[in-house]
């Protein structure tokens, strides 16, 4: 029994705390390109100082936050109606609808991103259709723009938005909506005053599940985005591979984590509050 309780802690210790301590140790060290591994351990904050003084890094942070925020909001706007529709569908149809949401995961993530490249290219399916249908003769190219990055992130992470939203919407007591209607609420007012506030835990969970990976996303901006969309994931890549500066790359990773701890803590607090409420 004691072992069972210890298991999650063991897991956390081995697969999160230890690697984290390691990354932190490297981040505090100095780049030593001539050794294996290329790190001189020590206690210094100059890697972090560089991250916060160089405007290029700051710009990358801001771009990442901006892209992640907009993508999360779009995913929420798209995912909420989807989750709502599934939660209100006939119970025997819900498993099928949920499976449709999860179905894309059966294909490799990379292949799906490549498929978007094929769709959004200059001569991709989208433009072919636009030209063929005569809607636009010179439609321009979405691939290689920030639009494509947003699209890719929203597409890739939409299921992570839909599933927690569905979970909260599905377990909602329908008699609450009847009570609201009974007390004079139009359907939309009932949605705003009852459904929406009660689904807030799902909204927060979904947003975190989209926002967190979106901030550090590397593959999608690399493949779908243009060069001007400089996100922090690319900076990390450059530091690690192009500059072979592991300490600085680790510092970026630590900052990324620190940045995400904020929203997670917020979520925890909100969860705790809703627990004491019910």
């Amino acid at each position: 029994m004691r072992f069972v309780i210890a298991l999650p802690f063991l897991w956390l210790g081995v697969f999160f705390l230890l690697p984290f301590a390691l990354v932190l140790a490297i981040a505090l060290g100095t780049n030593a390109p001539d050794s294996v591994p290329p790190v001189e351990l020590g206690i210094g904050l100059k890697n972090f100082a560089l991250l916060f003084t160089d405007d290029l890094y700051l710009a990358a942070w801001l771009t990442s936050l901006r892209v992640a925020t907009t993508s999360t909001l779009v995913a929420l706007l798209l995912g909420y109606p989807m989750a709502y529709a599934i939660a209100r569908a006939a119970p025997e149809r819900r498993p099928l609808l949920l499976m449709l949401v999860v179905l894309p995961f059966w294909t490799s993530f990379l292949i799906r991103v490549y498929a978007w490249m094929g769709l959004l290219d200059e001569n991709g399916l989208l433009n072919q259709f636009l030209r063929w249908s005569g809607i636009a003769t010179d439609p321009g190219t979405i691939l290689g723009t920030e639009w494509a990055v947003h699209l890719g992130i929203v597409y890739a992470y939409l299921p992570f938005m839909v599933l927690p939203l569905y979970a909260t919407l599905e377990k909602m007591d329908m008699s609450l909506l009847e009570a609201a209607a009974d007390l004079g609420a139009r359907p939309f007012a009932a949605f705003l005053t009852i459904t929406l506030p009660l689904s807030l835990p799902g909204v927060v969970a979904g947003c975190l599940l989209v926002f967190i990976p979106a901030v550090g996303e590397f593959v999608i901006p690399d493949l779908l985005g243009g060069t001007e969309t400089l996100m922090i994931g690319k900076v990390l890549w450059d530091e690690f591979f192009t500059n072979a500066d592991w300490p600085l790359a680790s510092a970026v990773a630590i900052c990324l984590l620190a940045l995400l701890v904020g929203p997670i803590a917020l979520f925890q607090r909100q969860q705790a509050r809703s627990l004491e409420r019910h």
Binding site: E178, A181, G184, P197, L198, E276, R277
Partner: protein, 332 residues
């Protein structure tokens, strides 16, 4: 000026004509006609699946009928959505909004109606006072006891000043002791407000003790409507006789006869009553305020209820007797 005084004084507050509701192959409400007069405490009584709850939900507007008409205060409710109906409901689960405190719950309907803030505050305070919850105004539903929640639900519906208050099994979620007190409180409130209550219950004792009139339902149909006394004393069918209270149902030459246990006299000597029969005590139970017997006679086992009596023993031979008008003939 209360709204309930505006309506026409004469005429029923609820009028149901040929109302039918089907769910797939099941006819939940089957061609029901019913009238409820203003100021009544009307109970819909029946076992589970008899259609009483569906009928209540049709009144509230949560279900749309497949056939028939439903008028509230003379107005046809066909196509009127729940939020526009002049009725309010107290849900069996109470359906309190968990993310709002008591005052917000009670004020919810007033906010939807667009009642001015000052007026709404006063009305909420009044409603909370009515159900003795003033000091709980800031609590969340999760922080209340079952009885307190029930009173919040009541206040939340009453504060809207509906023409009819619908109550879905209002006492079912309470424990037995609380149920007794709440029963009287509901009746007191109803009388005080002069409001029409339509209540659904499966508990015949509850219906009998509270309702001014009641409808007994079975398989989607109303079997009998009347005052508790009428229904008890003169059940229309064997189903009603059996469902309401305890009845000995006897077969006679003319048909069926319902004989309530307390109408039967039990004696050691043969009595001079119109009907007499000899029997033997099979079972007996002393219940404090009365004694119950099961007595085997020539034809059947009869249940008899008398004033508390410790003199009889199991196996004793006794005489049963009842007056000529004690039994009530049944239709079917």
């Amino acid at each position: 000026m209360d709204r309930r005084e505006d309506g026409p004084v004469s005429g029923p507050i609820v009028r149901i004509e040929g109302l039918t509701k089907r769910f797939g192959a099941v006819t939940a409400v089957d061609d029901v006609d019913l009238e409820v007069a203003p100021g009544e405490l009307f109970a819909l009584l029946g076992g589970s699946g008899c259609g009483k709850t569906t009928l209540l939900r049709l009144l509230a507007g949560f279900e749309t009928p497949d056939a028939g008409r439903l008028l509230i205060d003379g107005q046809d409710m066909t196509g009127v959505p729940p939020h526009l109906r002049p009725v309010n409901m107290m849900f069996q689960s109470y359906a309190l909004f968990p993310h709002m405190n008591v005052a917000e719950n009670v004020g919810y309907g007033l906010r939807r109606e667009g009642v001015a803030k000052a007026e709404a505050t006063t009305r909420v305070a009044d409603a909370l006072e009515q159900v003795r919850l003033t000091e709980y105004a800031q609590r969340r539903p999760a922080q209340l006891s079952g009885g307190q929640r029930q009173r919040v639900a009541l206040a939340r519906a009453l504060v809207k000043r509906p023409k009819i208050l619908l109550l879905d099994e209002p006492l079912a979620a309470l424990d037995r002791k609380l149920r007794e007190g709440t029963r009287f409180e509901l009746v007191r409130l109803q009388a005080e407000l002069g409001l029409t209550f339509v209540m659904v219950t499966h508990d015949q004792q509850e219906a009998m003790s509270m309702a001014t009139r009641l409808a007994v339902m079975n398989a989607g149909r109303i079997v009998q409507v009347g005052s508790p006394r009428e229904v008890y004393e003169r059940p229309a069918t064997r189903f009603v006789a059996d469902f309401i209270g305890v009845a000995n149902i006897l077969k006679t030459e003319d048909g069926w006869l319902a004989l309530r246990p307390e109408k039967i006299a039990l004696s050691v000597e043969r009595s001079g009553l119109a009907n007499v029969v000899a029997g033997k005590i099979v079972d007996l139970a002393y219940e404090g305020d009365r004694s119950l017997y099961r007595i085997a006679t020539d034809g059947a086992v009869l249940i008899v209820s008398t004033a508390p009596n410790l003199a009889h023993r199991r196996g004793d031979s006794v005489w049963l007797g009842w007056a000529a008008d004690a039994g009530h003939p049944l239709d079917a």
